[in-house]
Symmetry: none
DNA sequence: CATGAATGAGATTTCATTCAT
DNA sequence: TATGAATGAAATCTCATTCAT
């Protein structure tokens, strides 16, 4: 990873709390610790139980009272949004890494899609949020990161199309469609075990088709 | 198509209420009318509100009391299951028709997948039920039809593989994965308009990939 | 049984529908048949399920529609009242028979209390009605018969006190208290098997106590 | 009575919440206050409306929301169970006191039965719960106390039989049968005023009958 | 600030009773 | 007249969110 990437990553990924939220840099030490514990606990319990997880469960898992959870995330949607944001920050990092690596950019993109999928693999909540009909508010805080993800993707797509690895008509929309679909099949216990097969089909559909575009 | 097949299709698709349900052939005229209204209303309101739709809303939309809804569908899951069942009956019919038509069976299959998708296109209810995380009971009544769908699909896949239209490693599981994914992206208002593009990608991914299986 | 008794029994017991009810002597043959079937079915299903039996169940057991049940018994309470009435008619008959028999009247009374209990033994509904807090309406139609039962009881008590078999301070109220209590313990699945023991205690408590009244 | 026994009695009777319930000693002051208010309100409203009392009514009577009632008693059965438990704790105390007193143990037992009855006298709720057909779960939390009551009763019975005060064939089951019966007649507004008479009959039936066992 | 008790608007489901067929 | 479909007022229980301690 280059320095440039690291800088961007740090600024965008790590701290990055929503402005209206007491996660500002000057947060008290214990508050920051609590916030971290809550997010960690939320990730685990949402991953297990999906979006029907209750706020009380998150609080219990974090070892704090519900009130504390609400102090940091005034809404269940905002808490889920934070989890989503963090996932997309990881995704963004993966794509940026792919962009910096040597080798065919198309292949790099396809490989990082698989890596992204691996991030979802055990995270029921993210699967459900990505696939399902959630309240729009969940996406609010992740939106800027999603836009960055799209930007990096576009670069990679363009480069991959030049080398002929990716189909000429491919756009970021394709990635959204397919990854949304993947998340959905992953969220289904029956289909989840076959997710790598699904990934293969997705990958193949993004290469130039045998019969031409 | 043979007469026998047609008969079976008709018999299975049109009436086809679950055995334990008051939709038996000899239902009273008004009851049958109400049942139809409830299903229609359910489809509409589920499309609007998603799976968090309430039974009261269905009843109100159908212009009947809740009790009436419950008389016809003793459980919310069973009502959702009925919506699913009806869609799958249509799908089954489409696939059977494809099987009987002349021309390359692989192409027939791919075309009928598109036709199936057209069935979902405006049916947010089914999209959400298919893509979302539902209690398993929702699938109960549709299960036999789903199995028949799989059976017909398998025939078409085998034939399509012989003529080289479909990839050699394709199975019905692929269809499930991809169609579940399609339903999911369709259910997202942002992605829905691009569903034909999603369908194209799906179709392409089921043909033999350029680089071989 | 003497003729006199038979006459009374016939008049009081068999026909005897409440005045506001279409069970009047001039009921149509099929209506009378239906009424009988309903009562019979109600007795069985109430005996099994107790007072939480539903009207639909009664109708189903009788092989008629709910509407028909309601034609004969405008209220669940009235249907239960009819069952109660019939039980008390049997009780009345038993007590009258006791009165006519030879031998010590006190012993006759105590024996018929046991016989009455045998009538309840398998009839959960009557047990519950007698012991539990039911809507007063249930007792309405049985009330006159209950009064007759009391009258006969009083005769037997007086006679039994003369021969010294029954305690001198005994009244019909004692019977009510004790039989209500018996019904209650019978209604409890744990206590029910011991009901004959309960009966023994009851019987003993109605004889002159060892230490005098 | 030894000091130890007294201590245990106190410990068991006063606080004594079920272990799985938020009534643990370290409950917040307001929570404990609310819990007490709920129990008190429940007793009143159950006394009035019987076991068809609704949780909403209890909540309203206690001046709290339904949610609060459910926080303390996750089930209606558990709430009723608590009422029962508290009564049986009083009963247990009465019997233990009887065991420690001087004088004939049989007489002590019979007297404490009357005292127990006095506890029910104005508590329609307990009367109905004891006499009526309740779901078995209602008895769950009181079960251990009931067993202790039985144990103490057995001691007293054995001692009372030795002195000839109690009938030779008496068992705890007799007490259950008779007290269940008493509760039932008490619950009936018509019979309630005569409950002391009922108690007399019960007492007499537990002494050796004149004609021998 | 943290806590977790309290809130109360629903959510699903039941069932005595009514009424169109 | 008989039928059984329709009714809808409860009843129990849940859970995101608030607020007193």
């Amino acid at each position: 990873m280059t320095d440039a990437t690291t800088e961007i990553t740090d600024a965008t990924v790590s701290g990055a709390p929503p402005d209206d939220c007491p996660a500002a840099p000057k947060m008290r030490a214990d508050a920051r610790r609590n916030r971290a514990r809550i997010i960690e606990a939320a990730r685990e319990v949402f991953a297990k139980t999906g979006s029907l997880t209750q706020m009380d469960d998150v609080a219990a898992a974090a070892g704090v009272g519900v009130g504390t959870v609400y102090r940091h995330f005034p809404t269940k949607d905002q808490l889920m949004g934070e989890l989503l944001l963090q996932k997309f920050e990881v995704i963004l990092r993966l794509l940026r890494e792919a962009r910096e690596l040597d080798g065919d950019p198309g292949e790099r993109l396809l490989e990082s899609l698989t890596r992204c999928a691996e991030e979802f693999q055990h995270d029921t909540a993210t699967q459900q949020i990505m696939s399902g009909p959630q309240s729009a508010a969940v996406w609010d805080s992740a939106a800027p990161t999603v836009r960055e993800v799209d930007a990096v993707s576009e670069e990679l797509i363009a480069a991959g199309q030049k080398t002929g690895t990716l189909r000429a008509d491919m756009t970021v929309m394709d990635i959204r469609l397919l990854m949304c679909g993947l998340a959905s099949s992953m969220a289904d216990p029956d289909l989840n075990p076959a997710w790598r097969r699904h990934m293969t089909l997705i990958t193949d559909s993004l290469r130039p088709p045998a019969r031409g575009v």
